[in-house]
């Protein structure tokens, strides 16, 4: 199935240390000595080399690894935090619901990526800070979706029936409500991966990701910008990697959507 692209990418990301021909941080010295800015396909550099002679292919592979696990991590945190908030709000209703949703709405009412930029700029660039900042602005979306699903389910009479059957609040939430929200959250998450990859690449492009020399795709593209007209591959290859990764994720996300029968 198309949806199995997700585990496949994860597997590739896990195997990057084996797959990458060179150390992403260390310049490669060739027989001719200098290896700076070797064009793709020459001297064994599949995607060329950068200013100080590091293998762009290896860096891109490691960049994919970082991007992928970052995206998975943020999505997972969004699903867990947002799912928990949405579940509690949707299942409780009333004041708890109002308060939690006010908070969620306040987050949603702000331009998440811009706030994330500001947060990272304040805390100082590091991958962890970026992940935290993005996660902080990312969960409310999931909270909204889960809460919506839960509220819709809570309107069904099976919940009334379960309450009359004497089911505890916890069991009501986890057995009678949550499973119904799972398809929505899984489908949303799988379609969200591409968005997140692109957004995080944008932050990284602004220098708000893992600092150099960590191979981050957005940062690599930004670094390569000054060589765009002379040594294009340094900037373009990481960009293409994000494109490919996002495209695969979107195709896989579409597969998940069809699998779970959502439109």
């Amino acid at each position: 199935m198309v949806a199995s692209v997700f585990p496949a990418i994860t597997l590739v990301a896990l195997l990057v240390p084996i797959l990458a021909p060179d150390n992403p941080l260390i310049p490669v010295t060739t027989s001719s000595g200098m290896s700076s800015f070797v064009a793709p396909g020459h001297h064994g550099f599949l995607l060329g080399s950068d200013l100080i002679g590091r293998d762009v292919f290896s860096r891109v592979l490691y960049g994919i690894r970082t991007s992928w696990f970052s995206a998975i991590g943020v999505i997972a945190s969004g699903m867990i935090i947002g799912g928990a908030v949405g579940l509690v709000a949707g299942a409780s209703g009333g004041l708890v619901d109002s308060i939690l949703m006010r908070i969620t709405d306040a987050f949603l009412a702000l331009p998440g990526p811009v706030i994330a930029i500001c947060v990272v700029a304040a805390m100082g660039p590091s991958l962890f800070h970026t992940l935290v900042a993005v996660a902080v602005v990312w969960w409310p979306f999931y909270a909204r979706i889960v809460r919506g699903e839960i509220r819709a389910l809570a309107g069904r009479t099976h919940v009334d029936a379960a309450r009359l059957a004497g089911v505890s609040r916890f069991r009501l939430a986890t057995r009678h409500l949550l499973p119904g929200a799972v398809p929505a959250i899984v489908v949303t998450a799988s379609l969200d991966v591409a968005n997140l990859l692109i957004t995080m690449a944008g932050l990284s492009f602004l220098g708000l990701g893992a600092p150099e020399p960590a191979p981050e795709l957005g940062a690599m593209a930004a670094q390569g910008m000054q060589f765009l007209l002379t040594d294009w591959w340094v900037a373009v290859m990481p960009g293409m990697a994000i494109f490919a990764l996002a495209l695969l994720s979107n195709i896989a996300g579409d597969g998940v959507r069809k699998l779970w029968g959502r439109s």
Binding site: T157, H158, A161, A162, R163, L164, H176
Partner: protein
């Protein structure tokens, strides 16, 4: 009942057609009859709509659903033809097919013809079909809320069909919409259900169509409004000579409105003929069975209702014999020889049953007609008028130690229940006043039916008793085990991702027992509702509608509550299934001795299931008394109106207007704006429940008393 319904159709492989069995002569006969009735003015002698050997097959996943199999019908000018059948009979697909609006994704396989005024709605180019829809056809669909564009003023929507504002205005007036000019500026959500349906009718009538296809146009409406709409349709047929193809599952409605009836089963015509003839003497065993299983206001009480045997037809299976054979009580050996063809009985009666008229009165048919009906064991009860309503021994929602309430006890006491639901924001002050001081008392083992239209507060009262909806003021007291509830939509009342075993087993979580014992109890509960033990690992969606409702009942009673609350448990079911469920509830009640509160809008069902009847209007009880007595001798004008509105009795529009908005109930007796007997005092005073002798009893004294909240009540009794 969602439309379009691909319906049933089990005879895919069968080559039988009905076109040859529907010769022109017979249609000529019908037309002559109709023309005669319509003041002899039938100039266009051709049918306005006809289908020839129409077959429709939908692909649903890997399944092929045979919705229609070789159906030939004709609608003559000025005729109202009712297309009757249970869900899955293909009746809605037929209507859409005539409109040329069959779903396109995925496109169904269609064979045969469906002609409107000589234009084939299957093969003609889209532009031609559109022209026909515009000039010759009108359509009225089931749910007037969703069928109108919510973002357009209704006036604009009618103008779109009518062409001009004046024309739209006259159409709206013709459809009986008061203050039509101002209403044109309303959005659909600002209108009541009845008005919306009238708007739909006005749009359908735009451009003087030859035929209006009405797909379950009254199913979503209250009975009083239904009666008005049915009357309107009859009226329009008289004044405009418009033909109607009236698709309905409700035999009584068909009986009320139609000139001719076509009964469908399994995607085929089972029987067709003049309405009177078919309803008086149904020929096809299915028609007969349908009529017999109907719950009526004059049927015998305290006996099991007759039911159709077997399961509804599976329209994905290919049959090689009569599709009704597995359920047919009159089946003969030759019924297995291929699918029966339509044959002519009289000049205008056709039936697809091979059993001859001689055989027809054979033992098979008799067996359903006079099947021995098991009598219900009436629950023991005693009337104790001395008991004080404020009796302190009644515990608030207490769990009785023995679980079963004693038969002399009052198990449910509701005092002056009030409940409102805020509309929109809390501070806007606008609220739906669902309960406005309703009181109710239910004795152990007693069955009480609460009857009322939408907005009467009957469901809120039921939910208040269950504890699901806390009251604003007033009190609810329950004796014995906490109540259980059976909901209207069984599908939605079952957790979709849990297995049957889990759903039932959950009721036993509080009891310590082994896994094995629990499973045994679950299977026992399934047996008690006539479900096989095999379904224990199934999920709800794998069950049929009737099975789901039985499962819901099993869940409710597997630990018997002191009172079982039923919220319209039959209204979403087909006629035959409804009877089964009513029977099941009756049997469980007598077996387990539990009290029952049964909410319904259907007086006939109420009379059948209940010992006592309670009529609600706008959050109050307006009449209360023994079920049979209330039905035979109603006291409150509203109850009278409800009874008169029950379709199938040939009477129309006993009361004008619609159920008022529970946001702003009228002062005084809230029924007075619609009441034919209203006088000045009615708008001033709010009458209490009284006995015929004028004793105020406020609904707290159950028993055989007949209580009515109307200022005319005592006097009326005196005069009669």
């Amino acid at each position: 009942m969602a439309a379009p319904d691909p319906g049933i159709g089990t005879l895919a492989g069968n080559e039988m057609t009905m076109s040859e069995t529907s010769p022109p002569e017979s249609r000529q006969g019908i037309r002559d009859q109709v023309d005669g009735r319509l003041h002899g003015s039938g100039s266009g002698l051709d049918a306005v709509a006809s289908t020839e050997d129409l077959s429709i097959t939908f692909a649903r996943g890997r399944q092929r659903i045979h919705a229609l199999q070789g159906v030939s019908i004709a609608v003559q000018p000025g005729e109202i033809v009712a297309l009757v059948g249970e869900s899955g009979s293909g009746k809605s697909a037929l209507g859409l097919c005539l409109l040329g609006l069959l779903p396109t994704r995925p496109a169904p396989e269609v064979a045969g013809t469906a002609t409107i005024c000589g234009v084939d709605m299957l093969t003609s180019p889209e532009s031609e079909k559109r022209a026909i829809r515009r000039s010759r056809l009108g359509a009225v669909f089931q749910d007037p809320m969703t069928s109108l564009n919510p973002t357009m003023r209704v006036g604009a929507q009618v103008i779109e069909a009518a062409g001009s504002e004046d024309e739209a205005l006259s159409l709206l007036e013709a459809a009986g919409i008061p203050h039509a000019r101002t209403r044109m500026r309303s959005y659909p959500h600002e209108l009541s259900g009845g008005l919306r349906q009238r708007v739909m009718i006005a749009m359908a009538l735009a451009g003087e169509p030859s035929l209006v296809i009405a797909d379950e146009p009254t199913t979503a409406l209250d009975v009083t409004v239904q009666a008005q709409i049915l009357e309107l349709i009859r009226e329009l047929r008289e004044t405009k000579r418009t033909s109607f193809l009236f698709v309905t599952h409700d035999l009584a409605v068909a009986q009320q409105v139609a000139d001719r009836v076509v009964v469908m089963y399994g995607g085929r015509v089972a029987e067709s003929g003049p309405a009177g003839a078919v309803f008086d003497s149904p020929y096809h065993p299915y028609s007969a069975g349908l009529l017999d299983t109907r719950i009526t206001l004059d049927g015998p009480l305290a006996v099991e209702l007759p039911t159709l045997a077997g399961d509804p037809v599976d329209n994905s299976v290919v049959f090689s014999s009569c599709p009704y054979l597995p359920r047919c009580p009159s089946a003969q050996a030759r019924c297995e020889d291929g699918v029966p063809e339509l044959r002519q009985l009289d000049a205008d009666r056709w039936v697809a049953c091979p059993i001859s008229a001689d055989e027809y009165s054979g033992p098979g048919l008799v067996s359903i007609r006079s099947k021995a009906r098991r009598a219900f064991q009436p629950a023991p009860r005693t009337l104790d008028l001395t008991e004080s309503p404020d009796s302190p021994e009644i515990q608030l929602r207490g769990e009785a130690s023995d679980g079963k309430a004693s038969s002399h006890q009052v198990v449910v006491t509701v005092n002056d229940a009030e409940k409102s639901f805020p509309l929109g924001r809390r501070d806007s002050g606008r609220a739906v006043l669902a309960l406005r001081g309703a009181s109710l008392r239910v004795m152990a083992g007693e069955s009480v039916a609460i009857v009322g239209e939408s907005g009467s507060g009957k469901t809120t009262l039921l939910r208040a008793i269950s504890g699901l909806t806390p009251l604003d003021s007033g009190s609810v007291q329950i004796e014995g085990r906490s109540p259980q509830m059976v909901f209207q939509d069984a599908g939605s009342s079952l957790t979709p991702w849990m297995t049957v075993g889990d759903i039932l087993g959950e009721r036993l979580r509080k009891e310590r027992m082994s896994r094995h014992a629990r499973r045994a109890r679950v299977i026992e509960a399934l047996r008690s509702v006539e479900l096989s033990a095999g379904v224990v690992d199934a999920k709800p969606h794998q069950l049929s509608g009737g099975q789901r409702q039985r499962l819901a009942i099993a869940r409710a009673v597997m630990v018997p509550p002191s009172v079982l609350l039923c919220d319209e448990p039959t209204s979403a079911l087909d006629v035959s299934m409804a009877s089964t469920v009513v029977n099941l509830l009756g049997r469980l009640r007598s077996d387990l001795g539990i009290a029952m509160v049964f909410v319904t809008h259907d007086l006939a069902v109420a009379r059948t299931v209940a010992d006592r009847l309670c009529v609600m209007y706008l959050g109050r009880v307006v009449e209360e008394g023994p079920a049979d007595l209330v039905c035979s001798n109603p006291g409150h004008p509203y109850s009278i109106a409800l009874l008169e509105s029950v379709p199938g009795r040939g009477r129309f529009s006993p009361v004008s207007g619609e159920p008022p908005n529970p946001v702003n109930p009228p002062a005084g007796c809230s029924f007075h704006p619609r009441c034919p007997q209203a006088e000045a005092a009615c708008s001033a005073t709010s009458p209490c429940l009284k006995t015929g002798q004028g004793e105020e009893m406020s609904g707290l004294h159950p028993g055989d008393h007949h209580l009515v909240a109307c200022i005319h009540w005592g006097g009326r009794l005196g005069s009669s």
